[in-house]
C-alpha cells in the first residue's frame, strides 16, 4: 500500500525562497504574499524529499494511509 502525505506549510517560517516551487512546481506555488502554498493536498515520496530541501524547514508532511 503506497504511503501518501498531507502537505502543511508553516507560514511563520516560510521566507518565500522558492526552493519547493522550483523543485516541485506541480505541488507548490508562491502566493501574492510570497509564501508557499500547496497546490495539492496529498503528495508522494518525491515531494517528501523536496520538503527536506526547504531552507526554512517550513514544510511538514504527515503520512496517511492511502485510500
Amino acid at each position: 500500500m503506497p504511503t501518501r502525505w498531507r502537505i502543511e506549510i508553516d507560514k511563520s517560517r516560510c521566507q518565500g525562497s522558492g526552493v519547493c516551487v522550483g523543485l516541485a512546481p506541480d505541488y507548490f506555488e508562491l502566493g501574492p504574499d510570497q509564501k508557499s502554498y500547496p497546490r495539492q493536498l496529498v503528495a508522494d515520496e518525491h515531494v517528501a524529499a523536496v520538503a527536506e530541501c526547504c531552507p526554512s524547514e517550513a514544510i511538514t508532511l504527515t503520512a496517511e494511509d492511502a485510500g
Partner: protein, 419 residues
C-alpha cells in the same frame, strides 16, 4: 573626518558606505541590457523579471561543461571555474539529490551548533589587534572569520583561512588560475578526502562520504567539487556582507549603538545589508532556447547574468532603494537568489554575519574609520563600494585586553603562509 559619508573636498566627493553602481540600470530606465564583458552577456536587473527567470531552470541552464569553451555552457561563475561548482552548476534531475544531501548540514540546528565557534574565531582575530588599538578590519578579521568557518565545516585545516581568503577575494580573469594557493587548497581537499576514508570525523567531507542518496554514494570527484564550491561560495560572500556592515556602522553611529544595546536587532540589519550590499552581485546562466525578457531577444546559447545586486535596487520593488533602511518591510531581496538554487548556506551566512557583528561591537564598540579608508568617487557618481575590497577597512579604537580564543583554537594557533 567628522562625517565621512557626506564629506567632500574640491570636486572629489568622498563616500564611505554607499555604492550606487548597482542602481545604474534603473537610473537609465533599463531592465535588461547587453554587456561587453567576457565575450558579451545579457544582464537582467529588473526585480520582477529576475524573479521570473530564476524559476525557469529549463530555459536558463546552470550546467557547466568542462573543459571551458567546449560548449556554450560555462556554469554560473565569471570567469568560468576550472572545477565544476557542484551542485550550483547542475540542472535537475541531477541537481536534486545533491541539494537533498547537503540540506541537513545547513539547516538552522546545524548552524546554531556552530555559533560558539564563530565567536571564538572572531575573538582570536580581535586578540591579534586589540592591544594595538588599530586594525585593518577587513584583512585582520572580516575576510578571515568566514574562511575559518568554511574550512572548519568542510573538515580542512582552519589555519589555511588567510590563504584561502586571499584566493577567493582575488578579482580579474586569472582569479581561478592554478597558482600556488589553489594548488595548496586542492591538495588539502584531496588529503582530507583520503584521510576521512580511513578515519571519519564530524565534518562535511566525512558526511558526504558516508551518506547514501537513492542507494548511491557520492564519488571522490563529486566531494571534491562540493568542497571547491563551499570555498568559493562560503568565504567572500559573508566577508563582503560584513565589510558593508562595518563600513555602515562606522558611519552610522546611532544605528551601531542601537545594535550594540540590543543584539536582537542585528538580524534585521543583516537583512537590509544583504539587500543593499548584495555580496553576490550576479551569477550567470546559459540559455537553452531563444527567449524574450523585458522586450529583449535572447538567443539560444547566450550567456545571461542574473543581476541580484541590480534587482535589489529596483525602484519598482523597493521604496528608496538606494537608502539603507534597517527594518525595511517587506524586504524581498534576491541576495540569496530564488528558486531551486536558493543559496544553500543562507542560514549559515545570516547567522555568521550576526554573530561576528555582535562580537566585534561587544569588544570594540567605538571603532572609528580612519581617513585612509575613504574612497574618492567621480563627481556625479558616488564611490564604488567594491573598491573597499582593495583598500581594506582601516580603523582605530581604544586598546583593550586579549581574551583568548576559547577551546576551538590552540594557544599557539597561527595562519599558514606559503614559502
Amino acid at each position: 573626518v567628522d562625517d565621512l559619508a557626506t564629506h567632500s573636498s574640491g570636486d572629489k566627493h568622498l563616500y564611505f558606505e554607499m555604492d550606487e553602481d548597482y542602481s545604474y540600470l534603473h537610473d537609465h530606465g533599463e531592465r535588461v541590457v547587453w554587456l561587453d564583458y567576457e565575450k558579451g552577456m545579457w544582464l537582467v536587473g529588473g526585480h520582477q523579471e529576475l524573479t521570473e527567470i530564476l524559476g525557469d531552470d529549463e530555459t536558463f541552464s546552470s550546467a557547466h561543461d568542462l573543459p571551458n569553451g567546449r560548449t556554450p555552457f560555462k556554469g554560473v561563475m565569471v570567469p568560468p571555474t576550472p572545477v565544476r561548482a557542484v551542485p550550483i552548476e547542475m540542472d535537475p534531475p541531477e541537481y536534486f539529490n545533491f541539494r537533498r544531501a547537503l540540506a541537513p548540514r545547513f539547516n538552522a540546528a546545524s548552524v546554531r551548533a556552530l555559533s560558539p565557534r564563530i565567536v571564538e574565531y572572531t575573538n582570536w582575530c580581535l586578540d591579534q589587534v586589540i592591544e594595538a588599538g588599530e586594525a585593518d578590519l577587513f584583512n585582520d578579521l572580516i575576510k578571515l572569520v568566514p574562511a575559518m568557518v568554511t574550512l572548519h565545516v568542510l573538515g580542512l585545516p582552519v589555519e589555511d583561512a588567510a590563504l584561502a581568503a586571499d584566493a577567493v577575494h582575488r578579482t580579474g580573469p586569472d582569479r581561478f588560475h592554478l597558482n600556488p594557493t589553489w594548488i595548496h587548497l586542492y591538495q588539502r581537499i584531496r588529503a582530507a578526502v583520503d584521510a576521512r576514508r580511513q578515519e571519519p570525523a564530524d565534518d562535511l567531507i566525512s558526511y558526504l562520504q558516508q551518506i547514501e542518496v537513492d542507494g548511491k554514494r557520492f564519488t571522490d570527484l563529486h566531494i571534491f567539487e562540493m568542497a571547491f564550491t563551499l570555498i568559493i561560495g562560503g568565504m567572500s560572500t559573508t566577508a563582503k556582507l560584513l565589510l558593508g556592515a562595518f563600513s555602515y556602522y562606522g558611519v552610522n553611529k546611532a544605528e551601531r549603538d542601537r545594535a550594540r544595546a540590543d543584539p536582537q536587532l542585528i538580524a534585521e540589519a543583516v537583512e537590509e545589508f544583504l539587500r543593499y550590499y548584495s555580496p553576490v552581485s550576479f551569477l550567470t546562466r546559459t540559455t537553452t532556447r531563444d527567449v524574450c525578457v523585458a522586450g529583449k531577444q535572447i538567443k539560444k546559447g547566450d550567456r545571461v547574468a542574473f543581476g541580484f545586486a541590480a534587482a535589489n535596487r529596483d525602484p519598482q520593488a523597493f521604496d528608496q532603494p538606494n537608502s539603507i533602511c534597517i527594518g525595511r518591510t517587506p524586504n524581498r531581496h534576491l541576495a540569496f537568489g530564488h528558486g531551486m538554487h536558493f543559496c544553500m548556506g543562507s542560514n549559515l551566512g545570516r547567522s555568521e554575519a550576526a554573530t561576528v557583528i555582535e562580537t566585534v561591537l561587544g569588544r570594540i564598540p567605538e571603532y572609528e574609520l580612519v581617513p585612509e579608508s575613504v574612497l574618492a568617487g567621480e563627481p556625479g557618481r558616488k564611490g564604488r563600494w567594491g573598491q573597499r575590497l582593495m583598500r581594506g577597512l582601516p580603523v582605530a579604537f581604544p586598546p583593550g585586553p586579549r581574551t583568548g580564543p576559547g577551546a576551538s583554537l590552540a594557544p599557539d594557533f597561527r595562519m599558514t603562509t606559503l614559502p
